[in-house]
Symmetry: C2
Subunit: 410 residues, 2 copies
């Protein structure tokens, strides 16, 4: 357990009075305190959960994907599920709601927090929007938010409401319905409308504005949205680093610029590969198409070091509340990049072991303590969920902030 002050914002103190079923203090006894979950969200996109939960693949494939999900759940506690409109509702009126619900329930049962991604994006949006009038297109986008956010309420209460708004109205790779809406409403206008609709549908949800653009463009957009009264709950920052790790300096500079809004920050889509770097002259990462992008032992070491540094910097920053690595495994990774913590065969890379050591070791509070004569014990631990174990009994509790003494019956 790390004891340095740099993690003070991630910790709290708790005093527990432990009593037995009859209400008598459990005095002078050794008890175990075991952190079972983090308040901080350590995430990955877990699109495989759909096939695993729905058992929609053959048994060999299922076993392989279950192994992958086990390795995910052994370390991580936060999953992003795909709501790309083109895939979620390829034919208008036939959304894949049930399949996604099964996956969400499967993950929730395993104590994994969930985020839906995204509700409004110009890429992978419903192609049939293009056949509609401008008015109907906007109505369809609203109806989509209303339906999906409402269907998943209680299961998914965190949403990337909009993705990549900075380029949304000027995206010109191909025509699409959302760019058209963004042109009509303007950037702040579309953010305002989509947040209002999402908030109205799920008032308690955590709503993100997500972008890969970390320049002052995104800062000014956020500034404009906040001044226009848009209820942004967290800023979503993508960090696909196929062209090389940002490094401490850029990372801290980005944190500095985006933290001044006083909002929580989620690193929503992180990539650090264990392969060669994409050449710097590529502007749109999608333009880099190669046959084979291998993971190598040398670059796996580099990836592990970068992951360790980056996660440590983010975990130390008081406003960062989530880090999601975009691809948990190399299998099927975007652009074929060796972007995962697992190789294609599910074997863990050094980056996986490094993160496991941080999340389950250095940043995890698991200890034994002894109650005093009155059955009292105090401890400081990382925020999250705990089991207090005494003999063969246990009681679970949350450590969320410093608070009054709590009596627990075991």
């Amino acid at each position: 357990m790390g004891q340095t002050n740099e993690y003070a914002h991630r910790k709290a103190n708790k005093t527990i009075k432990l009593v037995d079923a009859s209400g008598n203090p459990v005095a002078g006894k050794e008890v175990g305190l075991k952190q079972t979950n983090h308040k901080f969200l350590f995430g990955a996109s877990t699109f495989d959960a759909i096939e695993v939960a729905n058992k929609s693949v053959d048994s060999d494939r299922l076993a392989f994907l279950e192994d992958k999900m086990d390795k995910f759940m052994d370390v991580f506690n936060f999953a992003t599920l795909p709501f790309y409109w083109a895939q979620f509702e390829p034919e208008q009126g036939k959304p894949r709601t049930e399949e996604l619900k099964v996956a969400a329930q499967w993950l929730k049962k395993r104590n994994i927090a969930l985020k839906g991604h995204p509700l409004c994006w110009h890429t992978l949006t419903a192609p049939w929007l293009l056949d509609m009038s401008s008015e109907d297109r906007l109505k369809a986008q609203f109806a989509r938010i209303e339906r999906d956010v409402s269907d998943f309420k209680g299961l998914i209460d965190t949403w990337d409401v909009l993705n990549e708004v900075v380029i949304m109205p000027i995206f010109d790779k191909y025509d699409n319905g959302i760019t058209r809406i963004a042109k009509d409403l303007g950037r702040v206008g579309i953010v305002k409308e989509m947040f209002a609709k999402t908030r109205e549908t799920n008032p308690g949800a955590t709503l993100l504005l997500n972008d890969f653009n970390t320049s002052i463009n995104f800062e000014i957009l956020i500034d404009g949205c906040l001044n226009a009264g848009v209820p942004i709950d967290a800023i979503g920052i993508q960090s696909h680093q196929h062209q090389g790790y940002w490094g401490r300096e850029k990372l801290e500079e980005v944190l500095d610029r985006f933290s001044h809004f006083g909002l929580p920050i989620h690193f929503t889509e992180n990539t650090l590969t264990s392969g060669h770097l994409m050449p710097p002259e590529i502007e749109d990462l999608n333009d880099y198409q190669i046959d084979d992008w291998p993971t190598t032992p040398e670059f796996e070491e580099r990836q592990a070091k970068e992951v360790e540094e980056m996660y440590s910097i983010l975990f130390k920053h008081p406003q960062v509340e989530a880090i999601t690595t975009w691809k948990f495994s190399d299998e099927g990774a975007w652009l074929g990049a060796p972007a995962g913590f697992l190789r294609k065969d599910n074997s863990p890379k050094p980056s996986y072991e490094v993160l496991k050591k941080l999340i389950k070791g250095d940043w995890n509070t698991t200890m034994t303590s002894k109650t005093d004569d009155n059955g009292m014990l105090s401890f400081e631990g990382f925020l999250g969920e705990y089991d207090l174990v005494y003999g063969d009994k246990k009681v679970s509790f949350k450590l969320d902030k410093d608070g009054e003494t709590v009596q627990m019956t075991i």
Copy 2:
């Protein structure tokens, strides 16, 4: 007079019934119609007007500056006066209000429309702001706006309220009070506050947000401000082209992006030099310091062509309402650039003659017409002010839009 449709938005039709002092129609007579002023604002910064109006220089110098101002007034109808805080109020509490008022009155008497530049900018701001607390600094900025906008109400009713807000909070060349305010309030926040104060002080004024940044940064800023309810009357675009003329393509692309807000556009600070081009690798134009930057016959021809094309493109665009060339003469031009329409000795360059031909010729309606048997005459002309001349009499009127028949007594 140009008769093509591309200028239709700059013109109107008018029918006049001309009667004599007794009310009888002036029938079947030749009358002259002479456009004496444009509705469109053809401007320059005219800081010399301060010395001319106040006669604060010796007689030789005064004659030279008067000659320069005459050449300005012979073609142009719009002047930008300097309100740089560092120069306007170098010592707190001792503003140069009187001097500036004399200049403004002098110009107004000569039918020149006026703009004040700027009310809030991080460059050339009052150095004494740095000695103040954050609260007092903001108060001083508000008080400055209240005082100056109120003192000049009726004389100056158009203001560059803020200048260069995109870089305002991240400007790091030197510490200054305004960057500090911008950091505290955020970009949209400072725009909101300064516009509100200016609007409150002069409700009828035309208020501009001015920037040299023509990237999507400025677009997003405007979008955010408008969504936050900031009453921007016109978008101010700087176009200092020391590194070369933007050309038709970039100019139309900028117009396209900034016109979608539906607001009037002012080209507030235009520079096209008649010298060699500043090297493209210079990022901050201020970093280019050379001993001599001559005007040459060859480059004067280039300047004239560029001026002709640029002014024609802007005059054709329905949302552009003003073009201000930043330096009317090479004398004392920013960076020593040959940026003027006059050389240092006040001799006109070809660019001056080209513009005079456009403004006073091609885009000017001056004609003779004959009243019919009822004293009626109809004409189409460029918007602006007119004299109707009949014999040795004249009557002045405005042509602002198509309208009902107007009776005029001569």
